[in-house]
């Protein structure tokens, strides 16, 4: 019994360590960012550190535009892929496709960004127009990065639909497609939604790859076309942090961006947890 106590204490220490670190990080960011978290920051339209103007609106709009588009693309491609993998594909093919898709997770994001910058951006510039660095490029790169999450989680939740539900539907004379549409997808829907929300969380926090393809204008504006260039919250942080003067309003504003990001991702995670829990209660 004593040894069990010791083990459980050690395990407790390990578990509380990560919780404490998260707590300390939050506290630190809030302490630094609180100086800049004011009305001008939240409603300001101009980001010009040289003029002490720190308005986050265009950057926030840019971030949400890029993330929303990416999640739509990832859904349009990812959910049908997952349905195919779970319901139609032969076992061997499913293994090949799934393990290939999972390789994407392992590609460092800077490599994907580099590919985007060298291949995607010139392609858009030459064939569609604009400068190439654009919202569109951000959509494609981000959608590609969250695709594995969407496919894997969606497929898992489709597979989790009890076999007897499907068999009952088929026994009643429904076709395979009718079964999928009326029985399988509705029961898997909360899992699919959770997959998409987690995808959004990942997309908002993604830095390197989007930083390289969205263009980052000197003074961001509210985009009017998908070929416009935007700034992301994360890319503003990554670009400006290395040179920021410590203790300046600029530094506080960057921390405030960190707080904002943290806040967005936390909310999304809570929503995802809630959605998943509701599925389990059903």
């Amino acid at each position: 019994m004593r040894s069990e106590d010791i083990v459980s204490r050690i395990l407790f220490l390990c578990a509380s360590f990560s919780a404490i670190v998260v707590f300390l990080i939050t506290l630190f960011m809030l302490r630094e960012g609180i100086h800049a978290l004011n009305w001008d920051f939240i409603t300001g339209m101009t980001w010009k550190p040289g003029r002490n103007l720190f308005g986050i609106v265009p950057t926030l709009v840019g971030t949400l535009t890029v993330v929303t588009g990416a999640i739509i693309i990832a859904t349009v491609i990812g959910v049908p892929s997952a349905i195919y993998l779970a319901e139609f594909s032969p076992f061997w093919l499913r293994n090949i496709i799934k393990s290939t898709v999972e390789v994407i997770v392992g590609i460092p994001s800077v490599v994907i960004g580099f590919f985007g910058l060298m291949v995607l951006v010139p392609f858009i510039r030459d064939n569609i127009g604009g400068r190439g660095e654009s919202i569109l490029a951000g959509w494609v790169v981000l959608a590609f990065m969250i695709l594995p999450n969407v496919i894997t989680l969606t497929e898992d939740s489709i597979r989790a639909v009890p076999r007897d539900h499907k068999e009952a539907s088929l026994a009643l004379g429904a076709t395979r497609w009718q079964t999928i549409r009326r029985v399988v997808l509705p029961s898997a829907s909360s899992g699919i939604r959770a997959a998409l929300i987690l995808g959004v969380g990942r997309a908002i926090g993604e830095t390197m790859a989007v930083l390289m393809v969205v263009g980052n204008p000197e003074v961001p504006w509210i985009p009017t076309s998908i070929l416009d260039r935007v700034r992301m919250l994360t890319s503003t942080l990554a670009i400006e942090f290395s040179y920021v003067e410590w203790g300046s309003q600029h530094q506080y504003a960057l921390f405030a961006i960190g707080v904002l990001l943290f806040f967005l991702v936390t909310i999304l995670n809570f929503v995802a947890t809630f959605v998943i829990r509701r599925r389990n209660l059903k």
């Binding site: 190439g132 660095e133 930083l211």
Partner: protein, 315 residues
């Protein structure tokens, strides 16, 4: 009714597993502690030996007295990488010296050195007259040079013939001239890239080009976080234009002539190329032994090699 008869055995398995995990952890910690003890022993012993050796050589009066003390340096972020690297080398040579290096910008460097807040201040621009009035005791030492080249894509039809005045460059980067046809090139938008606010390279460019004509960067200028990305962007964009620290202008891009002068190290050394700056270190009054030793180290061939490695021009 089925009554499982396994639990006792299963529980026994679980118990023994827990115990063995605990044992492994304990043994692991023990081995770690013992190894730590044996490793720490010789290390502190070595330190004692070297302290004794130093003391002996000091008592015997061999060689110059070892430098001791601490040195605080702050200022320009452009000079920061040079100072950081030099400080590391300097501390290797003089283990009893502690050098702490911080950024803060050129303005901060001048102010901090002038007010005695730090031992050595740094700036990547010349000292201003107003600063000299506030801090008349400042003594300046040049430790290197830097220059900024304006680069375009080699495939741009205008690339080889471009020869711009500073005023024209300021108009391009502020967006007043926004089409290559205005410069004798294709009828296409000029795509301007700039560095992030606070960057040293941007600071020089602003001082020499933008502030000289009282203009700001065009809002649509694409921000790139490093010299390398500035170069890559222009190398991949026929209609791009950017500015980089001279060391980054290689053959993937074309540096344009400014006022008829090509951007080369020779022209910078001759003082012909207009966008040039000297990197400075300041002390308040004549430097003390330690400050003098460090500045001389940076100016020595070893320190100048660091300057060159970091992409700047040695003096």
């Amino acid at each position: 009714m089925y009554i499982p008869i396994g639990p006792r055995k299963e529980k026994g398995d679980w118990m023994s597993r827990t115990q063995s995990i605990a044992t492994y952890l304990f043994v692991g910690l023990l081995i770690g502690a013992v190894a730590g003890y044996f490793l720490a022993g010789p290390l502190s012993y070595n330190k004692q030996i070297s302290t004794l050796k130093n003391r002996i050589s000091e008592l015997e009066g061999q060689g110059p007295a070892e430098l001791t003390g601490s040195l605080s340096i702050s200022g320009s972020t452009t000079v920061l990488p040079i100072t950081q690297e030099c400080a590391n080398l300097f501390m290797d040579q003089h283990p009893k010296v502690q050098v702490s290096v911080a950024g803060g910008g050129s303005g901060h460097g001048v102010k901090a050195a002038g007010s005695g807040e730090v031992d050595i201040g740094e700036a990547s621009r010349n000292i201003k007259a107003s600063e000299l009035l506030s801090y008349p005791d400042l003594v300046a030492f040049s430790i290197g040079k830097d220059s900024v080249a304006i680069i375009v894509n080699p495939d741009n039809p205008a690339a080889d013939t471009l020869d711009l005045s500073i005023e024209e460059i300021s108009k391009i980067f502020s967006g007043e001239i926004d089409n290559w046809s205005q410069l004798g090139g294709d009828d296409h938008e000029i795509e301007v890239y700039t560095r992030e606010a606070g960057s040293g390279t941007r600071e020089v460019f602003e001082t020499y080009v933008m502030e000289a004509f009282d203009v700001e960067f065009s809002e649509g200028a694409g921000v790139k976080p490093s010299n390398g990305e500035m170069r890559a962007s222009v190398a991949g964009n026929e209609y791009g234009i950017a500015y980089v620290s001279l060391g980054y202008a290689d053959n993937t891009v074309t540096s344009i002539k400014v006022g008829g002068i090509e951007a080369t190290v020779e022209n910078v050394n001759l003082g012909d190329y207009p966008i040039t700056r000297i990197l400075w270190m300041f002390t308040k009054g004549m430097p003390g032994t330690l400050e003098k030793a460090f500045i001389e180290f940076v100016q020595s061939s070893e320190g100048q090699a660091v300057v060159e490695d970091m992409g700047y021009i040695p003096i």
